[in-house]
Amino acid sequence: MMIALMIVSIGAIMYRVGTYYRQEQWEEYITLVEHVRLGTIRLVEISLANYTASGNNSTLKDNLDQWQNDLRKAYPGYGVTLTYNLADGTNINYFQGLASHWNETVSYSAANATFALNITSVGLEGYKFTATAFLSLTVINTTTNEITVAVTEEDGMPITNLKKDNFQVVGPNIISVTSSYDQNYTLVYTIKCDGNIPAQVTVRVWDQRGIMVIAKK
């Protein structure tokens, strides 16, 4: 009885010690992985914003090359290595991970890259994740002085926080921008202008990340 009690007690204590140690290891590297993942997604968004402003389609590749080195500087001793694969082709017609399809009724800007992360200090190898950035602008309808548009981001989610400063119409000035519910698009923006809207109207939108899209009706 005594021996049995002794074995059970020691077993329970050893189990607690062992699981505690494993839990700490897990938490340590999962935090670092999440930092790298979120930072890389932000980098893809920055690169797309830069591409839509400058037209430089090597922006994402150049930034990622620098990001690989800067990660090592930020986390010395961890052995962080990030490799990437930029999307090319596909249905969105990416080139070096970037794409823009502008001056159409439905226009968009997009970026896509897949990554593999190694952290040698904790034995992590080949952790894969994808970073995408997407902004779409659809011109739904125009009247004499109003334009109705829908703006969506990744996964077709409508963007809800756009103001007058986020839009530009070529020709007339914008007086106000209001948002409302729509059965098909969930959320639409109505852009009210101070003059007559031309038949071939061009609308620009910038989201809070700085990504731009130009659409035409």
Binding site: M2, I3, M6, S9, I10, I13, M14, V17, Y20, Y21, E24, E27, T31, E34, H35, L38, G39, T40, R42, L43, I46, S47, A49, N50, T52, A53, S54, N63, Q66, W67, D70, L71, K73, A74, Y75, Q208, R209, G210
Partner: protein, 148 residues
């Protein structure tokens, strides 16, 4: 006579069993990381620091605060809200060349000569952000934390 011998053996067995249990517990205690130990304290502070920076970044607030000097006061306030009241911090912002950007504008909560100099459990968290809007211009944040 036989009964008496058996009784003695039971006493010896009990003493031996107690000795083995005591030895095992002492041995296990060497490896145990108790909540009061400095190792646990630093690990706990690191987790809090990581979570605070990550949550701010996830809400797209971190880059807005870091790249606008006028909002560094807001950054200190936001960290104060995210961290427990008994945790003091000092945030340093560096560029990738290692130059400290906020040298003349400390982002901290708690007097450094009192809480940081006297504490023997200071945690340090590194965090990198790539840039803001369309510009790649990384900043490395080093957040030091102590419990008051």
């Amino acid at each position: 006579m036989t009964r008496n011998t058996k009784g003695q053996m039971r006493v010896i067995e009990t003493i031996l069993a107690s000795f083995i249990i005591f030895s095992a517990l002492t041995f296990v205690n060497i490896f145990a990381v108790l909540p009061s130990s400095p190792k646990y304290e630093i690990s706990d502070l690191e987790k809090m620091g990581h979570n605070a920076l990550h949550d701010l970044d996830d809400q797209r607030l971190l880059s807005r605060f870091v790249y606008n000097e006028t909002e560094w006061g807001e950054l200190a306030l936001a960290l104060t809200i995210f961290l427990p009241p008994d945790v003091y911090f000092d945030l340093s912002i560096y560029d990738v060349q290692g130059n400290r950007i906020n040298q003349y504008f400390p982002i901290r909560y708690g007097a450094p000569d009192k809480v940081f100099a006297t504490s023997n459990s200071t945690a340090s968290v590194s965090y990198i952000i790539p840039g803001q809007q369309a510009e790649y211009n990384p900043r490395i944040l080093v957040l030091q934390l102590v419990r008051g």
